[in-house]
Each structure stands twice: as C-alpha cells, then as structure tokens.
C-alpha cells in the first residue's frame, strides 16, 4: 500500500499552524523545537505507532516518550489530530486548569506516557518500558524522541550505555538534530559530533535521515523494525522552526512565542505551503 505522503504533509503543516496559535495564545512555550520534530511525530502517530486514541491505556500499544518535553505543542497537536482530545482544547495550552500543561504531564493528559520537561530523563524511562515489554513477551515497540541539546545531559549517556548493553531491539531513539539550543549553536556550546560514530560504538544501529522527508522517516522506522540485535538510533537532521521562514534556524524562537504580527505572517506562510502540497512531488 502506497503511503499517503500528501496527507502526512498536510497534517504536519496544519499542526504547525496549531503550534503557532498555541504558543501565541499562551504567550510562551517552545515553537522552534516543536516545528523541527512535528514531521517525525506525524509519521509516528499516523503510520508507525500501534495505538488507539479512544483507548490510550490499551495494553497492546506501542509507547512514545517525548524526552524533550518542551516540544509539548507538537505532541499536543498530533494527539488532538489523532483524536485523543478535541482540537478546540489546544488553545487552553499553558493556561490555568488546562490538561495541556507547559510540559507534558502523564497524570493530566491521557496519551502522555510519562512526564517530561527536565531534560535527559526520557530515555531511561523508554529503556524501562522496553525491558518491561520484553519481560511480558510483548512485540510492542518503544519510540523516544530526544533533542540534541538534551544529549548534553549525563543521564542520557547512562541510558545509552544501558540500552546498548541490553541490546534493546524494541527501542528506537530519534534525535531531533536541529543544531540549536537556547544559548546558541549546539556544536559551539558543547560539541557532540561525531554522533553516529559514538552511537555505533555504544552498539546502536545508527541511521541518518532528513527529518522533514516523510519517505526517509518512514524508511528509517521500517529499518528499525527489521533490526534484531541492537537498539536503533535515528539522527534526524532537522531545521529549528521549520516551515516559517523567519523562524527557521532562528534560536530566538526556541522558547519565545510569536507575537500577533509574527503569528499572522507565519500562518500565511503555512497556508501558502498547504495550498501547494500535492502539486509538487514530496
């Protein structure tokens, strides 16, 4: 069955609009790193994950852990688009009484597997889920999305050692390699390259893809599912703020919401892109 790349792209760009609206309405939040990972999340929730939005606790589900919890607008966007909760709720993001907390909270919103926000913790949790699934003799998978700034946390390397050592072939890590962190360029602040070589030495199946190319994203997940003896680590090269010209590669939009003017201009750009989808090849 041919994958509907057009629909994936449409969904991802509709959610990009939601990310702008949510962060603008909250006058806070992290649009840049949400827009860099939304194509990956869209592929996961539309094509890859075994899940049931009407039954988030379904015992037979695959797990997704958003270790970079500040990309909560992206997660909330895709959860709403897949029917976990009404899209109208998205604008309650970060407001008093909302289930959509600044960073995703397990006990507040069904579909959030674990609370994240303080960086570096998601992979250990994903490792635990992977071990638990194996103990249950379940074939389900665990996906964990991390940020590249997050890779500087020591706990990440403890966890990378663990999953490599335990050969957790049911674990797939996706690195949102947008190359920017709050204070500037990741490589200037604390260089992480060569990431692929490091991870291969940690016993990972390492793949490098364009994190905005749906075909490459899905192919990487397919390769993960075929990998028998080690965990998979996908380095997804992405663009922070992807989809809105003045936000792209602009570190200012890491943790800053668009103002009204920027919102209007951003939505216009995204609408223009949406009109073009389908008329050119992905």
């Amino acid at each position: 069955m041919a994958t509907d790349f057009i629909n994936l792209e449409k969904t991802a760009y509709e959610i990009r609009k939601e990310i702008l609206k949510m962060t603008h309405s909250a006058n806070s939040g992290h649009p840049g790193g949400s827009m860099s990972c939304i194509d990956i999340l869209t592929c996961l929730y539309c094509e890859v994950l075994k899940h049931d939005p009407k039954n988030p606790d379904w015992e037979d589900r695959d797990f997704f852990v958003l270790s970079k919890g500040h990309a909560s607008p992206a997660l909330y966007g895709i959860l709403a688009y897949r029917g976990y909760f009404p899209k109208e709720d998205l604008l309650s993001f970060r407001k008093l009484g909302s289930k959509l907390q600044g960073h995703p909270e397990k006990i507040m919103l069904k579909g959030v597997e674990i609370t994240t926000g303080s960086l570096g913790q998601g992979l250990s949790v994903a490792n635990g889920i992977a071990l638990g699934l194996k103990l249950k003799k379940s074939d389900n998978k665990v996906y964990c999305l991390m940020g590249d700034g997050e890779l500087q946390e020591g706990q990440v390397w403890e966890a990378l050692l663990s999953s490599g050592h335990r050969k957790l072939n049911n674990l797939c890590i996706i690195l949102d390699r947008n190359k920017l962190q709050i204070d500037g360029c990741v490589e200037e602040i604390k260089s992480e390259e060569p990431i692929a070589e490091k991870l291969r030495a940690f016993n990972y199946n390492v793949l490098r893809i364009d994190g905005h190319n749906y075909s490459q994203i899905l192919q990487a997940f397919a390769l993960f599912k075929q990998t028998k003896d080690k965990p998979t680590f996908i380095i997804a090269e992405t663009v922070k703020g992807k989809g809105v010209s003045f936000m792209e590669n602009n570190v200012d939009f890491h943790g800053k919401a668009p103002n009204s003017d920027e919102l209007e201009r951003g939505l216009k750009e995204l609408d223009n892109h949406l009109l073009k989808i389908g008329s050119e090849k992905n």
């Binding site: 397990k106 913790q121 249950k136 050692l161």
Partner: protein, 313 residues
C-alpha cells in the same frame, strides 16, 4: 534484645514477594550484595536489573517498568538513592506518580567507617518535600518486612529508609503495617519521645534510664514520617505536654520538623529536636558515632532531663 538487620529482612521479604507476585521486579545500582536485593536477583535473574553505577538511569528505568504494569523495587544506599537522583525521582516518579518503590539501605551515621560521603543525613528532608511521595523508616527488622509487604500492594511512590547496622528487634515476626503509622510503644506522662528508625529502640532504652530518676517517658514509634499519623501523635502531646523528637538524620527538615509543624498547629508544646546538628558525619564505628553525636541512650536521657528542667525552671 536480639539484633537483626533491616536490610537482611528486606532482601528476604522481597524474595518472598517475588515468589508470590510475578509483577515484582528489582533494580540495583551495583550494590545488590549490600542492599540484599542479591537474594531476589539469584532466584529471579530475569526480573532483576543491575543498572551499574548509574542511579539516575535506574530511577527512570524503574518508572518505565512500572508503565508496563510491573512493581519495581529500587535499591541502593540512601545517599545515592535520593540526592544523586533527586530530579529523576521528582519528575519520573513523583510528578508522574509512577508505581516505584525506593527502598534504600545505609541511612544515617551508623553507616560507620565510610564517613560523611556515605552517611546520608538529608534524605528524609529531600523525600518528604516531594508531593506524592510517602516516607517510611521502620523501627526494626520485623517492621521492615511488614512495610515491604504493605507497599508492594499500595499504588504509587514510596521511600523506605533502612540501615546498614543490625539493631534490636522490637516487634514480633507477625507484625503488620498500616499507613499512616505511629504507635505508642511505652506509656508515660512526663515527656513524650517521638522516634523513628533505629532511634526507636534507643528511645526505649532511654525511657528505662529516665524511669530510674522518676521520669516516665512515653515512646512513640513514628514509622511513617509522611504521612504522619496525627491522632496518636497529638494525643501523646496532650498527655505529656513536653516532647522530644529523635532521629538519625539532620535536625533540619526531618522527623522533628514534621512533628513540630503538626503540633504547632494542633497542640503547641515545647519540643526539642534531637538528631545530627547542621553538619556532616565522620568515620568511626556505629556505636562510637552514636555517642559522638549524642544519640546514645545515656546522652539522650540527660538531654531529656535538661530539657524538662529548663521548662520547669
């Protein structure tokens, strides 16, 4: 009184629970021989995860296992199982309210020769301040077994602090546990001593010494520091009207602080907080250290007398 190790009873009880419930799993950070999770590991290797020297990773891994329906017991020394991974406990366990049981050994100064780096005196402060966390310090080996069985059946996070040293047994083997837990172990009318963990038996010895001077001390085992069992604690305060708290922990933000906070609202009376002053531990033998820090029965009783005299004077 016969001496038994709380950690030995933890290890045996965990093993028993493992036989009864296939959902029980155990994690350790390279200290299983000391924490006694090695007993479980030997019998159930597939349900035991040695995380290596990586406590932060261990806490997260436990949280993940709990999401698959398992009941993880996480063990290491008190110092590594709290301060070293506070943020992981805060986020992956407490904010997430995952079903993780943190059972640590080697709490307090009675760790002995290892010295300050290994003598955890701030863990009760750290753990009680976390919402959703329940904090228990059993008074002996038999109560430890009861606590472990109890928490295995209660959903949500727990912190249980055990000791390295063996110390006298107070409870019978068949004792059970409930939450919250405070129990009057000796009745008195002149002063109430609220104690926790291995200080409970010291409090009982102290009460015997005081009795010879005509002071009848009531001794309350406050095994659950959070939540507190208010009724028993307040009723002893009303009866004795003067109180001491006793713990193998910093006098800042431990049992004493919790009791003071409760009584200042419910029934304000003079309270003396006994524990380790605002300082770190040092190397020595456990008994020597208790004496050095003024936490042996003799020193405690003289402090009790001084405190009573001061109030009367």
């Amino acid at each position: 009184m016969e001496k038994k190790g709380t950690r030995d009873y933890y290890g045996q009880t965990l093993l028993e629970l493992g036989k009864q419930n296939p959902k029980i799993v155990a994690l350790d950070a390279d200290l299983s021989a000391s924490t006694k999770t090695c007993l479980f590991a030997k019998q159930f290797p597939e349900r035991f995860f040695d995380c290596g020297v990586a406590e932060a990773d261990m806490i997260g891994t436990a949280a993940g296992l709990s999401l698959c329906g398992f009941i993880p017991f996480v063990s290491t020394f008190a110092v590594f199982g709290t301060g070293r991974c506070y943020d992981q406990i805060r986020q992956s366990v407490c904010i997430s309210r995952t079903n993780v049981k943190i059972v640590v050994t080697h709490g307090g100064i009675t760790v002995g020769e290892d010295g300050a780096t290994h003598q955890m005196l701030e863990d009760i402060a750290l753990m009680t301040s976390l919402p959703n966390m329940r904090v228990i310090v059993p008074a002996d080996a038999h109560q430890t077994s009861a606590v472990i069985k109890f928490i295995a059946n209660e959903d949500g996070p727990f912190y249980v602090r055990l000791s390295r040293d063996k110390f006298p047994v107070i409870y019978g083997e068949e004792t059970t546990f409930r939450l919250p837990f405070a129990e009057v172990l000796r009745e008195g009318k002149d002063v109430v001593i609220y104690a926790t963990g291995l200080m409970v038996h010291q409090a009982l010895s102290c009460a015997e010494i005081l009795s010879k001077s005509g002071i009848e001390a009531e001794v309350v085992n406050v095994a659950s520091i959070k939540p507190l069992e208010k009724e028993t604690i307040v009723s002893s305060a009303k009866k004795c009207k003067i109180a001491l708290t006793l713990e193998e922990h910093s006098i800042i933000n431990g049992l004493g602080a919790q009791i003071s906070s409760l009584l200042s609202e419910e029934f304000p009376i003079p309270i003396k907080i006994l524990g380790i002053e605002d300082r770190f531990g040092i190397s020595g033998k456990p008994d020597e250290l208790l004496k050095f820090f003024g936490l042996d029965a003799e020193t405690i009783s003289s402090k009790v007398k001084d405190f009573i005299d001061k109030r009367k004077g």
